[in-house]
Subunit: 211 residues, 2 copies
DNA sequence: GAGTGATTTAAACGACTGTTTGAAATCTGT
DNA sequence: ACAGATTTCAAACAGTCGTTTAAATCACTC
């Protein structure tokens, strides 16, 4: 029963290398060498490089989105039960918290977070299309929930502001260590829990700004 | 004097193709075919594919940064002359306005804007290093100016909030037409001037949020 | 323990990559 | 119009890419 080991060794190595160098710049030979398996194993177990990338994405994206969805629906039904609308911050939190938690936890998912950060940025291609196919349902639900939390906002404005929020988030997911932006003497380390709150402070204020 | 024509034909084609498909996925053969020049012309005029990418970036980044810098310094000296600090919004505007204007104007720079949107997202590689080398001086100045506009903010918080802002901006620069996020019936078209204000509303509120 | 199906292996496939070459063509200055 | 430098061109270079093949090895049932 070595097959599962091989498949997961390939997935782990591919996740790391795709995240570090991007899809096109990562060769199957680099992946199989890093995973210490034979070159042909990728095509045997996954069929093609494209299918491997899809498997890498889905392995983590599916449970992540299930978690986000259940938390979002909990917030929505809690508000409905109370006869109120959900707050912007708690809606955002259902989306942000599971993601940033993944960023910190065991080193394995860390690579994945950088990877989907890049997925959101890659030119219209394979990664983007796989990613969007699995993200757009939850995006629509997020948009609808924010519409309820922010009844004063036009849908057009909300659309753009949500785009800004997604842009911030994917940027943070990409770069852990890119400090070239500030003077050298600023300490920038932040625990995951703090980062979540700093992000929610910023994004809630942006979404709730006067129009 | 056909050399300049050839060089610029190559730069134009490369800018478009790099923006559309990324650096690694774009071959010199695709570029030279699109530019209707000989394959060897790239290596003759630029030396290598890497050097071509640098030339593509610098052609537009240099004048853009000069414009941003002069506007920023105008804002700073105007505030100093008035004995006040600059507002967050006007500091941000010096950085945002020249960029988004480039996004709209003649179709030629449109490709460039998508390109540097991707540059900010590509895994640590060539594009990123070229870009950062030419961006970090102005980034430091922007950070310092925002410190002056937001004296109540800790440097650490400002660092992260500025990252969020840059993430939003690069995300918008990348995707002109990615509407998969919202329900289908939302009209999202926006003139450049409106987009600038929508972005400044959001980002100013985020930067100025209570800590 | 032979036989069957799943997995691994080394080797090769054709296609494509960035780069180089040296001759041909074109332009520049006199 | 000529000489000399610049630019273009087709062809080939060595290397890497994703994928395929067929034999070798493994795990397991009868």
């Amino acid at each position: 029963m070595c097959q599962i080991d091989t498949k997961e060794k390939i997935l782990d190595a591919a996740e790391l290398l795709f995240a570090a160098h991007g899809y096109h710049a990562t060769s199957l030979r680099a992946i199989t060498a890093s995973a210490e398996v034979n070159l042909a194993a990728v095509n045997y177990h996954f069929g093609s490089k494209d299918a491997l990338m899809e498997a890498v994405l889905l392995r983590r994206l599916e449970p992540l989105n299930k978690l986000r969805l259940s938390q979002l629906e909990a917030v929505l039904s809690r508000a409905e039960a109370a006869g109120t609308v959900p707050t912007t911050r708690e809606v955002l939190r259902t989306f942000v918290e599971p993601t940033f938690r993944l960023r910190q936890k065991g080193s394995d998912a860390e690579g994945f977070i950088r990877l989907i950060g890049h997925a959101l940025a890659e030119p219209q291609g394979l990664v983007m299309s796989i990613f969007m196919r699995h993200m757009s349902p939850i995006m629509v639900k997020l948009f609808t929930a924010l519409e309820r939390a922010l009844p004063g906002l036009s849908r057009k404005t909300l659309f753009w502001r949500l785009h800004f929020a997604i842009g911030s988030m994917s940027h943070i997911m990409r770069c852990h260590d890119r400090h070239s932006i500030t003077p050298a003497d600023v300490s920038v380390e932040l625990e995951t829990e703090e980062l979540i709150e700093v992000f929610l402070d910023y994004t809630t204020a942006g979404l709730e700004a006067a129009q």
